[in-house]
Amino acid sequence: MEQGKIEEKPLIELIDLCKIYVTGDEEVRANDGINLKIMNGEFVAIIGKSGSGKSTTMNIIGALDVPTSGKYILGGIDVSQMKDDELASIRNKMIGFIFQQYHLLPKLNILENVELPLLYAGKGKAARKEAAMAALDQVGIKHKWHNFPNQLSGGQQQRVSIARALAGNPSLILADEPTGALDSKTSKEVLAFLKKLHDGGTTVVLITHDHSVALQANRIVRLYDGKIIFDGPTDEYIEFESKLDNNLYG
C-alpha cells in the first residue's frame, strides 16, 4: 500500500469531467469539472455530504452513465462516449460493484447470484461454478452456496455481494455506501475485508458520507457542489477537515 506498489499508469483518469442534469429549465451541475487520477492498487474514499455529487461520480466511474462533457479513461480505454452495450461489457469485465442494499436477486440462490457476472461474460457452466465457488470461499461463505438471499443475515448478504463483485476478477471494486445498511460490528468486518482486498492488490474505490468509514481508505477525495475540494492522503485529510469552515462545507 505504500508508494512502491502504485504503478505509473493510472487505472482511472477523469479529465474536466462534467455531468449536467436538466430538469425543466433548471440546470444542475452534479459534476462540475472533476480531474482525478487513481492508480492501480489504490484504496480511495470519495466523500461528501448529500447532493455533493458522489453518486453521479460513482455512476460514471462505474460505467453506468456517461459524462456530459470531459473524459473518463478506464484502464487506458476512453469510456466517455461509449454506447449502452459497450458500457455493459466494460462493467462486466472491469468493475465489481458493491451496493448499499446488496442488490442480490431473491429468486436465485447464492451461487447463481455470484455466477451472474460470469454468465454475462459468456463463461461455461463448469467455469462459472468454479470461479463463483472460489469467490464465495474468499469471503468465507462458501458453505451457504445453495441458500437463498433471504435466508442470510445482512452482513452475510453483503459478503455474497462482495463475492459477486470479485467473481469476474475485475480491475476495480466500486463500493457505494457498503456499510450503510449494516450495524457497526458487521460494518467493521466488511471494511476489514475491503482492506484485505486492497492489501492483495485490488483497486478499491469507496463512496460514503460517513467520515469514520472514509478514514479506512488510504486516500480521500472530498466533493462539494460537484467539485473536488480535497484530494490527498488520509492523514492530511484529518488535518484539512479540522480546519474546515463548517458553515461553508457542512
Partner: protein, 391 residues
C-alpha cells in the same frame, strides 16, 4: 446467455408466480384447446360422412337426360360413348324404374319398384346372387319377361325359398324368376333385399313414358369421376344442345361439395377460436408489462453486472414465449382429450389432427413472442441507474 438458461429463468419465473401464470396461460389453453376441438370434430364429422357415402358407389356417375322431339340420345349412343372412352369408363347401364303391383296367386306387393337394367348392372353394383343368374344380353335383346328378385320379395310372395323358375306377375304380365339376390339386410321391406330387376328393354315398354332417360356409368375409380363427368357433359351437350336437358350427378361430386363445405366451416370456426389466441397474446403482453415494472430493479442489477440489451431482451421474450408455449401444450392436451371425449358422446370418430396441433401450437408460441417483444424491449431499454434506484 444461451437459450437453455433462458428457459430455466423463464420456468423459475412461471413457477414462482403460479397463480398469475395459470391465469395468464388460461387464454392460451382455451384458445389452443378450442382450435383443436373444433378442427378435430369437423374432421370427424367429415370422415363419418365420407365413410357412409363411400359404400354407395363412389366411382359411379348418374345421368338423367330429357329427350325432345328433335334431339335425343338413346342407349346405343351411351354404349358407344363408353366404348369410345375406355380409359375412363368401365361400363354403363340404362335404368328404367317403374312401380307396379307384383303377384303370385293371391299374395301381392303393391307399388313395388321394378328396376330395368342392362346385364352390366350386376357387376357395377357388386350384386351377389344366391341362386340362378342375372339378366343377360339375350334377355335384353329379346325383351324377355325374366326377373331377378330379392329375398324380401320371395318371402312376401312365396311359402318356399326355392322359387327359381317360378313365375310372378308384374302388372299382370308373367315374369320368370331366373335369379335370387343373396340376403343382406334380413329381408326387410325397403332394404336392399326389397328389389326386383328385369331387362330394361322390357320395363321400358311397360312403363308409362316408354323412353329411357336414366343411366348409370361406372368409371374405374373415384379419381376418374371428375374427368368422366366432363366427358359426359361435352358428349351430351353436343347431342342435346341444352344444359337444362342434362343432369349429371355423382356421389363423388357430392362428397367434394360436402368436403369443401366442412373444411370451410372448420376453417371459419377454427379462425374464430384462433382470435382467442390473439386475446391470450394481449393477456401475456399485459402480464409481461407488469412483470417488467415489478422487476425494474432486477433488470438494473443484471445490467450493472454486464447484461447487454439482447440479454435482457431475450430473457423476457423467452419468458413470454415459454408461458405461451406452456399454455399451448396444456391446451393441446386439454383439447386432444376433450375432442376424443366429445367425439365418443356424439358418436363420430373425432381425433386431434396433427395439422391443428402444429398450427395452434406455433401460433401460440408466435403470439407469445410477438406480444412479449414490446415488454421485453421496454425492459432492455431501461437505464441501469434508474433501474437500480427503483425500490
Amino acid at each position: 446467455m444461451n437459450l437453455f438458461q433462458g428457459f430455466r429463468l423463464a420456468f423459475k419465473s412461471i413457477v414462482s408466480n403460479k397463480m398469475r401464470s395459470i391465469l395468464t396461460m388460461l387464454g392460451m389453453i382455451i384458445g389452443v384447446g378450442s382450435v383443436i376441438i373444433i378442427v378435430g370434430l369437423m374432421q370427424g364429422v367429415t370422415n363419418y360422412i365420407v365413410d357412409s357415402f363411400s359404400d354407395m358407389g363412389i366411382n359411379m356417375i348418374s345421368v338423367r337426360v330429357t329427350n325432345t322431339g328433335t334431339r335425343h340420345v338413346d342407349e346405343a349412343d351411351m354404349f358407344e360413348f363408353v366404348s369410345n372412352n375406355p380409359d375412363v369408363f368401365d361400363s354403363v347401364t340404362p335404368l328404367v324404374t317403374s312401380s307396379f303391383t307384383i303377384k303370385n296367386g293371391t299374395a301381392s306387393i303393391e307399388n313395388e319398384t321394378i328396376t330395368g337394367t342392362a346385364e352390366t348392372y350386376e357387376k357395377m353394383n357388386n350384386l351377389t346372387l344366391s341362386t340362378g343368374r342375372y339378366i343377360n344380353y339375350a334377355d335384353i335383346k329379346n325383351r324377355k319377361a325374366v326377373c331377378v328378385v330379392g329375398t324380401y320379395v320371395v318371402s312376401e310372395l312365396f311359402e318356399t325359398n326355392n322359387v327359381l323358375g317360378k313365375t310372378i306377375k308384374i302388372n299382370g304380365e308373367p315374369f320368370t324368376i331366373v335369379g335370387i339376390i343373396e340376403e343382406s339386410e334380413d329381408s326387410e321391406e325397403g332394404s336392399a333385399d326389397d328389389c326386383v330387376y328385369a331387362p330394361y328393354t322390357k320395363i321400358a315398354r311397360m312403363s308409362y313414358t316408354g323412353t329411357i332417360s336414366n343411366y348409370s356409368f361406372a368409371t374405374y375409380g373415384r379419381e376418374y369421376v371428375e374427368d368422366g363427368e366432363k366427358l359426359l357433359d361435352d358428349f351430351l351437350y353436343e347431342k342435346l344442345l341444352d344444359e337444362d336437358l342434362i343432369k349429371i350427378s355423382s356421389m363423388t361430386s357430392l362428397l367434394t361439395t360436402i368436403d369443401k363445405m366442412t373444411s370451410t366451416l372448420s376453417a371459419v370456426l377454427g379462425g374464430i377460436a384462433g382470435i382467442s389466441l390473439l386475446v391470450a397474446g394481449i393477456g401475456i403482453m399485459n402480464i409481461m408489462l407488469v412483470s417488467v415494472t415489478e422487476r425494474t430493479q432486477e433488470i438494473g442489477i443484471r445490467k450493472s453486472l454486464g447484461a447487454r440489451r439482447k440479454d435482457i431482451l431475450s430473457q423476457f421474450i423467452i419468458e413470454a414465449g415459454s408461458i405461451s408455449a406452456f399454455g399451448g401444450t396444456i391446451g393441446i392436451l386439454f383439447g386432444a382429450s376433450l375432442v376424443i371425449f366429445i367425439g365418443n358422446i356424439v358418436g363420430v370418430n373425432a381425433a386431434p389432427t396433427v395439422g391443428s396441433i402444429i398450427l395452434s401450437f406455433s401460433i401460440s408460441v408466435g403470439i407469445g413472442l410477438i406480444f412479449g417483444y414490446m415488454p421485453a424491449k421496454k425492459a432492455a431499454g431501461l437505464n441501469p441507474i434508474d433501474a437500480l434506484r427503483s425500490e
